[in-house]
Symmetry: D2
Subunit: 310 residues, 4 copies
Amino acid sequence: MSTATALSGVIPPVCTPLTPDFEVDTASLVRLIDHLLAGGVDGLFVLGSTSEVAFLPDTHRRVVLDTVVGHVAGQVPVLAGVIDMTTLRVLDHAATAVAAGVDGLVATAPFYTRTHPAEIELHFRTIAARTGLPLYAYDLPVSVHSKLPGDLLLGLAADGVLAGLKDSSGDEGGLRNVLLGRRDRPGAADFAVLTGSELTVDSALWMGADGVVPGLGNVDPHGYTRLYAAARAGDWPAARREQERLVRLFDLVAVGRARMGHGSSALGAFKAALHLLGVIAHPTTAVPQIPLDESEIAAVGTFLAAAELR
Amino acid sequence: MSTATALSGVIPPVCTPLTPDFEVDTASLVRLIDHLLAGGVDGLFVLGSTSEVAFLPDTHRRVVLDTVVGHVAGQVPVLAGVIDMTTLRVLDHAATAVAAGVDGLVATAPFYTRTHPAEIELHFRTIAARTGLPLYAYDLPVSVHSKLPGDLLLGLAADGVLAGLKDSSGDEGGLRNVLLGRRDRPGAADFAVLTGSELTVDSALWMGADGVVPGLGNVDPHGYTRLYAAARAGDWPAARREQERLVRLFDLVAVGRARMGHGSSALGAFKAALHLLGVIAHPTTAVPQIPLDESEIAAVGTFLAAAELR
Amino acid sequence: MSTATALSGVIPPVCTPLTPDFEVDTASLVRLIDHLLAGGVDGLFVLGSTSEVAFLPDTHRRVVLDTVVGHVAGQVPVLAGVIDMTTLRVLDHAATAVAAGVDGLVATAPFYTRTHPAEIELHFRTIAARTGLPLYAYDLPVSVHSKLPGDLLLGLAADGVLAGLKDSSGDEGGLRNVLLGRRDRPGAADFAVLTGSELTVDSALWMGADGVVPGLGNVDPHGYTRLYAAARAGDWPAARREQERLVRLFDLVAVGRARMGHGSSALGAFKAALHLLGVIAHPTTAVPQIPLDESEIAAVGTFLAAAELR
Amino acid sequence: MSTATALSGVIPPVCTPLTPDFEVDTASLVRLIDHLLAGGVDGLFVLGSTSEVAFLPDTHRRVVLDTVVGHVAGQVPVLAGVIDMTTLRVLDHAATAVAAGVDGLVATAPFYTRTHPAEIELHFRTIAARTGLPLYAYDLPVSVHSKLPGDLLLGLAADGVLAGLKDSSGDEGGLRNVLLGRRDRPGAADFAVLTGSELTVDSALWMGADGVVPGLGNVDPHGYTRLYAAARAGDWPAARREQERLVRLFDLVAVGRARMGHGSSALGAFKAALHLLGVIAHPTTAVPQIPLDESEIAAVGTFLAAAELR
């Protein structure tokens, strides 16, 4: 599966099903992949934030890569997150992902350290130079605590260092600057721009984005592929109707917020939904996340019913 | 080497000397350990932020642990940072550190994820339960982007979960609350409180802290051990004079700030100083940090001369 | 001029022309109003952030109100910012604005203080109860350092406390939640939602927003009114073309960033453009903002030429 | 009352007693001043954050100035906060304060706007040039969202622009840099450095600070004057004992935190304490702050009893 052409479409960040003792539940993972492929997705992004990559030890990461790459067998491109604090650690993850046979790598700016833009640039240049795969920058200020500057991204795009961007910054004005900038920069034309903002996908596609990486796509892949198809067909009102249904469904991420972190509530809700839908065997999220309780899981079920997914 | 009694004194976070191609320079590391032991330090903290732990791949971390534990051979306690995003990843590092024979573990709150205090608590409880070593909480909001609440620390201290705290938050009011709180809580009396704030060590000891983990102690261990000895002897004016000399020396951390991150400038300056002092073979810092240039290194030399270290 | 029907369309935040000694240049202000009315705007927002409200003493604020309300004479609604730290101070500004005859008031959450959501709610309820005018909430986290929660806004909308929202938060997902929420809440249907994000106006209108409050609209009101008209006519491709031209023009806000605050650079560029276009007599911004220098002003001219405004 | 010599000692930020309908309760204010003078304070700081300056309209500010300056009648210096967003607005407050006869002015960096250090410098230089009184910089990042750089402060001190600093940043390392820096800079020797951190006053005095501006000093002025006197007499253990008692008393600021902002809880607790002590007639805090309820007020009483103030 070549990714020489720019990546596009719906590429969900794949949840990582776990057993109650926090091992990777590979049988559930295979069912989840089938659920997503049946939903018509255009690619898969494993080991991203929605995959609980921050919670998975290296052995778990390896199991995920082998399971997914093996099961997908080239039907769609598989991108792998290589999320870690700085360059040398990222390169170790990249080596594992390359060996597993993925089609592209996704890296954030350094975190934990306070990093100068010149250092962020060197970070991406070093990763690209040492791995032979398309490299996607992952802009996620809520986790990384720095915002990738548009000029830096476009410069790295024009130089062929970056193959694309997953923008989860929520900064739609910045996204638009990148989308216009790539038209103007020789060499940046095939820089793939994907949004990670689940609530504004029609808008991002309207501005010129190539695709979307929606965490909620685990629960409702058909919704996002219908949205994407409508947009590509120029039927923007249909895209908007689908998006608005998904905006309302997305509220399930808040079911546990009174008792836990926002991330735990969202990841717990996605997994509870997949469990209720019969896709995965356990709704377990990794330690130290607080699990959803029965009433919170019931609330997730209500959202699924309202969205006519059950 | 037992740490059944509370840790105290000067416990520098040990820099990790690197070769120009970013391998651990074990010969330099051994010389650095000797330099610190000759300086009279009371313990060593490896794989902390000053050790560039965020930049070191797992194999490097292992080399550091084996080199230091082997060379120290029980002369002083060795604490090991087990710095990673969440619990299961930290437990992997902890297993390596335990196998290497360290005397205690140092862990931060989860980072990259947004974590609820109840999840931070579960994080520390899980680490303590799964390892048999004294566990120290590392409060470093500048990296972790959350502040450890005093009540949470004192509760974990009283329950025997935490053996101590390395407070690098810069919040001296919060530090004082913990210091008073441990007097009032049964079971927390032997909770060790160490400050990581190099500029206010006399003040922290005056408030009741047990010791200090000074990054600058790599460069001038004698300065910090003299400061600590003066404080223990009740000669506070001498402690202050020593502290004030060290405050002025500490300004070397800013030599590169115009061109790089604050962390890179500080770590680069510490290593340049150790190189100029003949302790380590190369001033190399790990990629993607910008290296100090000649004029910045010369500025470091001027600071050393002003402090009469050369 | 009644605003009983929800406000909509293009409502620029009006720059406040100053003389070189920082007095309000009322002749220039009148020309600017004529420039905007000739551009077809649907309303005017005075004493907002783009008006340098934070820099204007109370006497200047009063001059602005009297000048604009007098000159507009009911042709379009005039909204007035009542920007201050907390409730009683805001009420003083509101009394002045009411006396001047404005058509609506625009208030932020409290700032300088750290405020609980229940206190933000009481703040808006108190202002609405003590003034007889439509009240618009101004969501501007970059200045106020808190984000207005969607649920709070919708609750106040349903209760008739708030007439609308100016959303300058840049959080398009949150904006969409408010837009969908007002459909679902009885009583919130006529809650006016205006975006202050100049780069995504087509997208905000597409999602259902009623209008836009664009700082850049001072420089190019025709651009925004063409954009709005195209959107209302359902000619979204034309709206996008206009938006993209405006995105490129908006880059003028960065001409001074290397030497001054982002705000000073943007406000200085708007005023330099209005000066180059012959609308206002002086490009002066209020102390302590650094003025643009000649080369920066020339760069603004280049942007105007590229946008075919000169 | 001249302040030509550097200010020193205990200078509490004076609470502003209010009637239940939010007018200044001047009778209570006079009693509070007497309470503080009887406590032996060395000066008074009115219209600071603890005075609820952010909540007071200009007429209230004027009443406070006239009441306090008139009642104090030169017994101790009176400093006045001139807290507002930017320079011209601050100058209006300064003119009022000068007319009222205060002995010095206290100003923060600009807020609400995003301000460059060069603009902060121009801000202070403009205020100092236009008023004839000693000017004190107020470093309060929690409200102002920028930190005053030490170099900027020392440069303004050496140039005679600033008479001193009230440091409420909580950054004790930065405080120490300023304290050492003023020794090294010609012209900065009489720059007064006051800490606003109530929990580390002994430590700040130990480092060389000249005095303290403690909000808690409203409740227990004798505590702070005893602390200061002990430090000046070189009896540091007595200073520490007093400080530790005050640290425990300070916990009263948290009584309402579950239901309101941190500021409302602290200001409410100070006023509840003053009411319980019979100093002020009403515990009212300004709108939109949530008032303490009966159980929270009872908790304040328990703190007073524990500190042997009742």
